[in-house]
């Protein structure tokens, strides 16, 4: 297949005016050129000249299952947050196709660098969902072994992981390994200097990395227009590699495009940027109140493009799954939710002295000293003036 870029130089005469008023989402997005789509919002299968995909019914059902279970996991996490079991949750609601499609495009040897919202991608990498909950519960800052599933820790500082991904990809290339790297980031993150530097390094070293931008239209309260006045995928061309925009609510298109991009990288052609055009259906996190900055209509309009409903319509129309299949997924979902619920509730708090663990790999006399002093201090409560203990240290 061919990977196209959209490059444009130009003279002042060709400059593009800037929209000062925001129309509805539909109006803004209507007629977006170059959006790769293989399944319409109405669940109709369409073809694209550059991106083809041919999946077995089983594979199609697998994608459906992935998305449903991911959504169920996400919903359970929101509930657990409301119940006080988690301190915070960043929901992926609405972004299931972007995450499952791209995650399923990766091979085991590929390496994933997520933000803090890639629960669906983690699912495709066989990361135990409970691992994702530790930092949101506040028992650790991540804590899993990234090398177990080639899935790096969640990274909160916006954009910084794109550089780690690029460096990792440079290493992959050095090793001559048959693998690629994928770096997730958001529309907001596209403004960070680190992301631009990652583009530069990846291009200059021809690193096998796919930059996967989930443009979910919002960076907390800021619409994408606050980050860029042209579609984000176009940025790649200016750095010398191809960019493509895919319907991020179309799991087939995301899978096809990401596969092609990863293959592009793996085969020595260097980096590629994929912009998955999607929508954050929920709040930014559980502490956010999106009613302060966006309209119900916009949300409703995107609800009609729901990635799961879309695939289900297609499966039903084509008769690719029977009732037993859907029933089984319901059962699986309940089991997953139960496991997550119980797992979180039983997740142990770290011991106090964990504060001093893993600051250094090779140890530090300073940490040793502070640990010893603190241990002595704590033990003073056991032996002596217990009456003041417990009111906070």
């Amino acid at each position: 297949m061919s990977v196209k870029s959209t490059a444009a130089g130009g003279s002042p005469a060709k400059s593009r005016g800037r929209t000062t008023t925001r129309g509805t989402a539909a109006k803004r997005r209507a007629g977006e050129p170059g959006l790769v789509q293989l399944l319409t919002p109405e669940g109709e299968r369409v073809e694209h000249p550059d991106y083809a995909i041919d999946l077995t019914p089983e594979e199609l059902r697998g994608l459906y299952r992935d998305m449903v279970l991911t959504r169920r996991f996400d919903a359970e996490a929101i509930t657990l947050q409301r119940q006080g079991e988690l301190g915070l949750w960043a929901s992926l609601l609405g972004q299931e196709a972007a995450q499952i499609g791209s995650g399923r495009a990766t091979r085991p040897d590929d390496y994933v660098f997520p933000t803090y919202r890639e629960h669906g991608v983690a699912w495709t990498r066989d990361v135990d969902p409970l691992n994702l909950l530790g930092m949101f519960r506040g028992v650790n800052h991540g804590g899993w072994d990234p090398n177990e599933n080639n899935f790096q820790l969640y990274t909160i500082v916006i954009g910084s992981q794109t550089l780690h991904a690029t460096g990792y990809a440079m290493g992959v290339a050095k090793d001559g390994a048959d693998a690629a790297v994928i770096a997730y980031f958001g529309d907001g993150a596209s403004s960070q200097g680190d992301v631009a530097e990652a583009f530069t390094f990846a291009a200059v070293y021809n690193a096998p990395v796919v930059f996967f931008c989930q443009n979910n239209q919002w960076a907390i309260s800021e619409p994408t227009e606050k980050q860029s006045r042209v579609p984000i995928y176009q940025r790649a061309a200016g750095y010398g590699f191809p960019g493509v925009r895919v319907d991020g609510n179309d799991v087939l298109a995301v899978l096809a495009v990401t596969r092609a991009a990863l293959e592009h990288a793996r085969s020595g052609q260097g980096p590629m940027l994929v912009e998955a055009f999607t929508y954050r259906m929920g709040a930014h996190t559980t502490t956010d109140d999106p009613t302060r900055y966006r309209s119900d209509e916009e949300r409703e309009e995107w609800a009609s493009k729901d990635p799961i409903a879309r695939l289900r319509t297609y499966l039903e129309r084509e008769g690719l799954a029977d009732e037993a299949f859907y029933a089984e997924i319901d059962t699986e979902s309940d089991a997953l939710a139960k496991r997550v619920r119980e797992g979180v509730r039983n997740m142990p708090n770290p011991g106090t002295m964990a504060i001093f663990e893993n600051v250094y790999a090779d140890g530090s006399a300073l940490v040793d000293e502070e640990r010893a002093q603190f241990a002595e201090y704590l033990s003073s409560f056991e032996t002596g003036d217990v009456e003041t203990a417990g009111t906070g240290h």
Binding site: G87, L88, G134, M135, F136, R137, G138, V139, N140, H141, I156, V157, I158, G188, A189, S191, Q192, G193, D194, A219, I220, S221, E222, K226, Q227, T287, D288, R292, Y293, N349, P350, T352, A354, I355, F356, V359, S364, L366, V367, E370, F374, Y377, S380, F381, T388, A389, T391, G392, H393
Partner: protein
């Protein structure tokens, strides 16, 4: 003219007043517009002053501070919000190499009246990067002024003064005190932005703290009083410069000093205070200056922060040790 308001509200009113008083004042940052900031410190300002004065910026901290510098060069007085302490570092280069140095580079011919507001410190049960206390990393840098209010009145007045100041001011807001209420006399003439105040008089040991830890020290003083010990609490308010005169005067009375902050002790503000006060009060100190603060470890996950953060007991333990010396 005294009103009761939370620290967050005091900051909000202070910004409102600044926007009203001076058309050159601008608010900039991520989500400061329609949303009113993740802590709602800028709530209502976008609505009342418009997007020309209250500016939602791209998600790029270096860009925010760098363009604020440019706006200051053009005659504006930008008040920048960094969303959380842990996210100021992408802007660190612009702050350290440009904002702090440009006035000197121009031999005084240009001024850089930029305020950078940073909600800081722990205690709100947040995830990584949302609970840090990086103030020493700014106080060490010549050309910057660094302050932190501990209560509503100081929140209100110190922010006004920071905005009026012709120098760059890093304004650290004690985020876990945002909801604490206090009296604000909106008509009172404020004192010097960089003066420390004795928040509680006492005779046995001086506690020096700032921002979120002042409340802890006041509570410690109250608890100690029950045990018959008289602690003096100095609210430093300013971390660069530091009002050593006020601390010195207190230590000359009490003979003992404990410095308390959330930031790691190692290379923290307490070190500077201990060094300088020991030099000034060598023959008045009955015990070495002791420090209570964060450990040399990344800020821990939320479930450990109560153990990690200096509280009443750790402060009183240090007081005990100072008295036992």
């Amino acid at each position: 003219m005294t009103q009761t308001m939370a620290v967050a509200k005091a900051l909000n009113e202070s910004l409102r007043k600044a926007l009203e008083n001076d058309p050159k004042v601008l608010i900039m940052g991520e989500d400061v517009g329609k949303l009113g900031g993740v802590f709602r410190i800028t709530d209502g300002l976008y609505k009342d002053f418009g997007e020309g004065r209250v500016i939602d910026t791209p998600l790029a901290e270096s860009g925010i501070v760098g363009t604020a510098i440019g706006l200051a060069l053009r005659g504006y007085r930008p008040v920048v919000e960094i969303q959380f302490d842990g996210f100021v570092f992408p802007a660190y280069d612009q702050i350290v190499t440009q904002l702090a140095k440009m006035h000197a580079r121009a031999l005084g011919k240009i001024k850089l009246p930029v305020v950078i507001r940073i909600p800081y410190g722990g205690g709100i049960g947040a995830v990584e990067h949302h609970s840090e206390s990086p103030e020493a990393l700014f106080a060490h840098v010549p050309g910057l002024k660094v302050v932190s209010p501990s209560n509503s009145s100081d929140a209100y007045w110190m922010l006004q003064q920071a905005i009026e100041c012709d120098d760059p001011v890093i304004f650290f807001e004690p985020k876990r005190r945002y909801w604490d209420k206090g009296e604000v006399d909106v008509a009172a003439l404020p004192g010097d932005l960089h003066r420390a105040v004795v928040a509680q008089q006492g005779t046995d040991v001086t506690l020096a703290a700032y921002g979120p830890m002042v409340k802890v020290c006041l509570e410690a003083a109250a608890a100690a009083a029950n045990e018959g010990r008289s602690l003096e609490v100095v609210d430093l308010r300013s971390l660069s410069p530091i009002d050593f005169d006020t601390i010195e005067a207190s230590v000359r009375r009490t003979g003992r000093l404990v410095v308390v902050h959330e930031a790691p002790v190692f290379y923290g503000a307490g070190a500077e205070i201990a060094a300088r006060i020991t030099e000034r009060c060598f023959y008045h100190l009955e015990a070495p200056v002791l420090r209570v603060g964060g450990f040399h470890a990344p800020y821990p996950p939320a479930r450990l922060e109560e153990e990690y953060l200096p509280g009443l007991d750790r402060v009183l333990d240090a007081v005990d040790r100072a008295l036992a010396f």
